[in-house]
């Protein structure tokens, strides 16, 4: 189908984009890669009157080394992240998960900022930035503010971004020595969304796991941390049995959806099994 009519502007800077959004009011929307928004417009599930295209803004693009963290511009594409040497070195989980997003053509256009701002709990990257303890940086008419990933995802397809705010960058703490990671995604076909996904990080200390962080994809209306399993894994022996026991608590406190791809119980089961696998792989077992 053809989208409903809208106006389109391509601002030359982030500040110009913010002004265009503020002038456009509630009916204005940012477009970056368009890989989530254009399918919605085509199905006429969204009717913005103004699209503000940030796709050409180079100030929002690229990965920079900020000492103890990487700062990733919001319109850095999935394709760039998968191939970026800084991401590979300091934050490999992001590259590993991004490679499972959609397909090569979508990854050429889709951006990290768009994937997060879309706020889809079935998207792979929200749970990943949650597990990585990332901070999202937004700019609006009142200036810049920092939003911890844990406060960013508010509800299904809803984030704490204000309508006239632009997500400019994502800051991700570098993983130090001893950290390992794994993104486990269960899906029915190659390009489909995760039925359940698990992003796990562990810090090994000799024979045990000192610390674990686990983000869950599609286990609620927002991406969630598996806190009970994290606590159980911290201090556990670095063995498959011990980590599987910790993973048995992965679905505690979750409220997974039920749909054509799986009942809620089935998703709980998947979350436990995938968390066990992801923890073991992250711990190098």
């Amino acid at each position: 189908m053809i989208p409903a009519k809208f106006e389109y502007v391509r601002p030359g800077s982030v500040d110009e984009a913010i002004r265009a959004l503020a002038d456009g009011g509630d009916d204005a929307k940012v477009i970056a890669g368009g890989q989530s928004l254009l399918p919605l417009l085509r199905l006429r599930l969204a009717y913005p009157e103004l699209l503000v295209d940030v796709g050409g803004l180079d100030e929002l693009r690229g990965v920079t080394d900020a000492g103890d963290a990487l700062v990733i511009g919001a319109r850095t594409t999935h394709y760039q992240l998968v191939h970026d040497p800084l991401v590979a070195e300091h934050c490999g989980l992001l590259a590993e998960a991004t490679e499972t997003v959609a397909d090569p053509a979508v990854r050429h256009r889709g951006t990290l900022g768009g994937a997060l701002a879309h706020g889809d709990p079935a998207g792979d990257l929200p749970a990943v930035v949650l597990a990585l303890d990332a901070t999202l940086i937004a700019r609006g008419p009142g200036g810049e503010r920092e939003i911890p990933a844990a406060d960013f995802f508010v509800d299904y397809l809803t984030t704490s971004l204000q309508p006239e705010e632009i997500l400019t960058a994502i800051r991700i703490p570098k993983l130090g020595p001893g950290w390992g990671y794994r993104y486990e995604k269960f899906h029915r076909t190659a390009q489909s969304w995760a039925t359940v996904g698990v992003a796990a990080l562990t810090r090994r200390d000799n024979g045990s796991v000192a610390e674990a962080r686990i983000g869950l994809t599609n286990m609620g209306t927002v991406p969630v941390r598996a806190r009970a399993a994290e606590d159980a894994a911290a201090g556990a022996a670095a063995s498959r049995e011990a980590l599987r026991a910790a993973a048995d608590r992965a679905d505690e406190g979750t409220n997974p959806p039920a749909d054509l791809h799986g009942a809620a119980d089935y998703r709980r089961h998947l979350a436990r099994v995938l968390t066990g696998r992801a923890l073991a792989a992250a711990a190098g077992l």
Binding site: K5, Y8, G34, L38, D103, A105
Partner: protein, 155 residues
């Protein structure tokens, strides 16, 4: 209406388009490149795949205004006097039945081979994961891409 300048298969076009016009509609209806089909409403099938500045994109998931200033290559720009080696390989390996997915498959495959001139079968399958075929069962498509790779296509 917005004014755009786009190079399609080596020819420069300047046109006025509605912002809501999708690149695939621009290519088919304004430029006349009907070699690029539309197969779905959800940007899943990959039939509409073209190259935008050398990289594969689904032309139903790009606005024509977003293609302003870019170079687009469609299936119609692949043959250069003779069939492109990928087109020949698809023909020789029976990699199509109805042919609806073929333009997208060939464009996605050309992007894959540009980046990875000698892919394994698994890499070929992953490179084409965004392109659906309802007819062939994919076996002969993988074989055709392998054959084109062996013949040394890298663009």
């Amino acid at each position: 209406m917005a004014e755009i300048t786009v190079t399609v298969d080596g020819v420069n076009y300047e046109d006025h388009v509605e912002p809501r016009m999708l690149l695939v509609h621009y290519l088919r209806e304004i430029v006349g490149k009907t070699g690029t089909p539309i197969g779905c409403d959800t940007s899943n099938c990959g039939a509409c795949t073209v190259l935008m500045d050398g990289q594969s994109v689904k032309s139903c998931a790009v606005l024509a205004v977003q293609a302003d200033g870019t170079q687009i290559t469609t299936i119609e720009g692949m043959a250069n006097g003779a069939l492109h080696p990928l087109q020949r390989a698809f023909h020789e390996e029976h990699a199509l039945q109805c042919g609806y997915c073929t333009p997208g498959m060939i464009m996605a495959a050309s992007d894959l081979l540009r980046e990875n001139p000698h892919p394994t079968d698994t890499e070929i399958r992953e490179g084409l994961e965004g392109n659906l075929c309802r007819c062939t069962g994919y076996e002969n498509i993988v074989r055709a891409v392998r054959r084109a790779a062996q013949a040394g296509v890298s663009e």
